[in-house]
């Protein structure tokens, strides 16, 4: 860069002039602008993008300031030193690195990773704020929040020399800035462009992340069309809105907020970012594990026979204290893995918006329980099923506006995403006020596909559950969103993988609701400890429906082979656990044993065990590679007495009953 010295000289002159005394009259201000413009030109010639951008924003800042009627000489001064400082910074950055975005991506990977992470958070916030703006263009808070998001991304991108990102963010920022100054209205066209820009920025982030992982990837193509559309927003209707006191007020407010920019919009993140520490998830998992161990160790001490023989109130008090602290420690450790479900809900807002346009339906998303917290893994895994159900809702559930009005319903339909706690679990609900599930249609479809015999009487629930069968789809025509028949069975499998359950409620004409009952965490389960001979096994309680001691007329042998149990009018297959696991039972007589009715993927079966020992919350441990070929066991857990108990994998136990091989 041959003339960088010149450029530097110019900027330093400017800085010096500022120190001598800033512009005091409107005329002086115009001089400043032309000086900076000259710098911008020079920088452009040198392809020093950062300087160009910095100069651009400096000019705009001065222009805005000078457009105020009651200018008193101080206002533009406030921003100038900062603008000049930014120019200098940009120059320094430009001196050190080549211009091509592709090369600069190899720079500090840690900073880039942080940038990608932070920007994604900002983009998520931006998206939800824009959706608010779309509904309520006068919402200044949402406008400021959106502006701050883009502003921060712009700043970070500039620092990391991602010029394309910076440029795009800068253009959008300009639009938003005009809007803040009431020079531009937030039209649907504007929100469209802002959302498209956010998408484009996401593609850049994806590219950055791919490169960080050492994968080869092409940077997203330069999207001049998008840039032109953004510029079109603020160039055609030339800034005409009369500046006045109102705009001054907004500016002051905005200026205040801008100074602490890295904060995303306040309503988005209830926890201020400055108070958070980023921790490696492996470390976190280890902490959770150790806290679990501590609980076990504490329980071993507490129940120790020799200790119990010591009758000392003082010791009792100390042990009680230890118990309290251990429980608290575990709760805290567990809570560290928990994240609020709100961001996931907000991701769906965008989907609802896009789909409602696509289907020409008028739909509003309402969420509640955004603050409910779930294990990180669960929230991540929930994204796909949720997306699927929201799609189904918009495609099948919600009627067209005309149809709704014909039925006397408001044209504006609602999709609800709700979360709340219920007896130690979290219930996540996807509901709509559409037409509800059509029992007749579901039934006839299922019969047509041979999924259910024609003459079988089905209860309401049984009918609804048909839609979870693989290969079921009621969509009359296949759309590109839903109706490919891969829907609900995949959803149910996902939910069950998370040790959850899904239920359907529906009322014809009033809407339907899908309830997902999920555990708070995947590290701990509620288990039913059962005994078979000398062995003890843990049955996951979420699959257990009921348990009882069978009567003589309960168990039937079909064709001298398969055993069935008559439970509430239906015949369910019986699996004798001692046979499957080849252990000596206490008794082979079912009348002296216990039947456990379990449900996996909608199918029920009975497990025959010797006795019920109790219910216990257990920390799940993997058994490791030595036992990778063992089916029917999903892991181990330390029981209250310190011994290892094996956790049953009911799904495989039931589906692969004959895999007990030649050992």
């Amino acid at each position: 860069m041959p003339c960088s010295a010149d450029l530097r000289q110019h900027i330093e002159d400017l800085a010096l002039r500022l120190v001598m005394g800033g512009p005091e009259t409107a005329q002086a201000l115009a001089d400043w602008i032309s000086a900076i413009q000259a710098i911008q030109k020079a920088a452009e010639a040198e392809k020093a993008q950062a300087v160009v951008a910095a100069a651009d924003s400096a000019i705009q800042q001065i222009r805005q300031a000078s457009s105020l009627e009651d200018w008193d000489g101080d206002t533009p001064m406030a921003g100038l030193p900062e603008a000049i400082a930014r120019l200098q910074q940009a120059l320094d950055a430009g001196m050190q690195a080549p211009v091509a975005a592709d090369q600069s991506i190899a720079q500090d990977p840690e900073l880039l990773a942080d940038f990608a992470l932070e920007s994604r958070e900002h983009l998520a916030a931006i998206e939800s704020q824009v959706l608010i703006l779309e509904r309520d263009p006068a919402n200044t808070e949402a406008l400021h929040a959106t502006f701050r998001g883009f502003h921060t991304i712009k700043g970070l991108a500039g620092f990391l020399e991602l010029w394309e990102v910076q440029k795009l963010a800068h253009e959008v920022e300009t639009v938003l800035d005009r809007a803040r100054n009431a020079e531009l209205a937030i039209t649907p066209a504007a929100t469209d462009v802002i959302l498209l820009s956010a998408d484009s920025l996401r593609r850049w982030l994806a590219y950055v992340e791919l490169r960080l992982h050492g994968e080869n990837s092409q940077p997203p193509a330069h999207d001049q069309g998008l840039l032109d559309r953004i510029r079109g927003l603020y160039t055609t209707p030339e800034a005409t809105a009369p500046p006045g006191l109102a705009t001054l007020a907004t500016r002051v407010e905005a200026g205040g907020a801008e100074e602490n920019t890295p904060q995303p919009a306040a309503p988005i993140s209830p926890r201020p970012e400055t108070m958070a520490v980023k921790v490696d998830t492996a470390k976190l998992d280890f902490l959770v594990d150790m806290a679990g161990e501590m609980v076990i160790a504490e329980s071993l001490v507490r129940h120790d026979r020799e200790l119990a023989a010591v009758k000392s109130p003082q010791l009792q008090r100390k042990i009680a204290q230890l118990t309290r602290i251990t429980a608290e420690l575990q709760r805290t450790a567990m809570s560290m893995r928990l994240v609020p479900i709100g961001p996931l809900f907000r991701r769906m807002a965008r989907l609802v918006r896009d789909l409602s346009r696509q289907f020409s339906k008028r739909v509003e998303l309402e969420t509640s329980g955004d603050e409910i917290e779930l294990d990180r893994t669960i929230v991540e895994e929930l994204s796909d099923p949720l997306m699927h159900m929201v799609r189904n809702s918009l495609d099948h559930g919600i009627e067209s506006p005309q149809e709704r009005q014909e039925r006397g319903k408001p044209a504006l339909a609602h999709v609800y995403l709700k979360a709340h706690h219920q007896s130690g679990q979290v219930v996540v609900e996807v509901a709509d006020d559409g037409r509800g599930l059509n029992r007749e249609k579901i039934r006839s479809k299922a019969v047509e596909r041979g999924l259910v015999p024609d003459d079988k009487p089905l209860s309401e629930n049984e009918t609804y559950n048909l839609i979870f069968l693989p290969g079921f789809s009621t969509a009359e025509k296949v759309s590109n969103v839903s109706g490919r028949g891969v829907g609900m069975d995949v959803v149910r499998r996902h939910i069950e993988k998370l040790r959850g359950r899904i239920e359907i409620r529906s009322a014809v004409g009033a809407g339907s609701s899908f309830l997902m009952k999920l555990p708070l965490t995947l590290a701990i389960i509620d288990g039913l400890v059962v005994g078979v001979g000398a062995e003890r096994y843990i049955v996951p309680l979420f699959s257990v429906r009921e348990m009882f001691r069978p009567q003589a007329e309960t168990i039937w042998t079909v064709q001298n082979q398969a055993e069935m149990a008559l439970v509430r009018g239906s015949l369910l297959p019986v699996l004798r656990l001692y046979r499957r696991f080849r252990v000596a039972p206490r008794s082979e007589n079912p009348l002296e044993s216990i039947l456990i009715v379990a449900e996996v993927e909608g199918q029920r079966f009975c497990l025959l065990v010797d006795e019920l020992i109790g219910k216990q919350e257990v920390v799940i441990k993997a058994l490791g590679e030595t036992f990778k070929d063992v089916t029917g066991i999903s892991g181990g857990a330390i029981l209250g007495d310190g011994r290892v108990g094996l956790i049953l994998d009911l799904d495989r136990l039931f589906k692969e009953p004959n895999s007990a091989s030649d050992f």
Partner: protein
């Protein structure tokens, strides 16, 4: 543990015998004395209740709770095809750290009794005699003669990762 890696790769090469020198924990199994590198040993514990895992070979006794970790336990007698014996007061579980498929894993081995820790020099360790093809000799590090007695040194990584082990009884005779 680079020295183990070396000897494990080329157990037959005499030049490597120095790589085998070091401390060994010796234990009894039937009438024989075996040794494994002390570096591989994490813990020696008395017999405790082992939870049997269904559908596993007989030599896999099950799992134990080692301070919150679930650790598999192998009966080394059964693994080597030596007839099972009643567990006694002397029976112990040696918890070893061995190389698993992806990372190091803990594994317990049931032995008749732990003897002592020997410091063996390279000169005291001899290569295993060639027994012909029927012996999968590469899980043996060598033999050591100490005070007139023969100790069979095991490469415990290989022992625990090999599915089929031949009857070791022939070894000593």
């Amino acid at each position: 543990m680079p020295s183990t890696m070396l000897s494990a790769n080329q157990p037959m090469a005499p030049a490597q015998s120095d790589g085998r020198a070091g401390k060994y924990l010796t234990f009894q199994l039937a009438k024989e004395e075996f040794g494994i590198r002390v570096l591989k040993v994490r813990e020696i514990m008395g017999l405790q209740e082992i939870t049997a895992v269904p559908q596993t070979p007989a030599h896999i006794k099950g799992v134990i709770n080692l301070r919150g970790k679930v650790v598999p336990v192998i009966d080394l007698r059964l693994k080597f095809g030596i007839p099972a014996a009643e567990y006694t007061q002397r029976t112990c579980i040696i918890v070893t750290q061995v190389q698993g498929e992806s990372s190091a894993v803990l594994m317990g081995i049931v032995v008749d009794g732990v003897s002592e820790v020997l410091n063996l020099t390279g000169a005291e360790i001899e290569d295993t005699p060639e027994f012909g093809e029927q012996i999968a000799g590469n899980y043996l590090l060598g033999m050591a003669k100490v005070k007139g007695k023969v100790k069979i040194l095991l490469d415990i990584d290989k022992v625990l990762s090999t599915q089929e082990l031949h009857n070791l009884n022939i070894l000593a005779h």
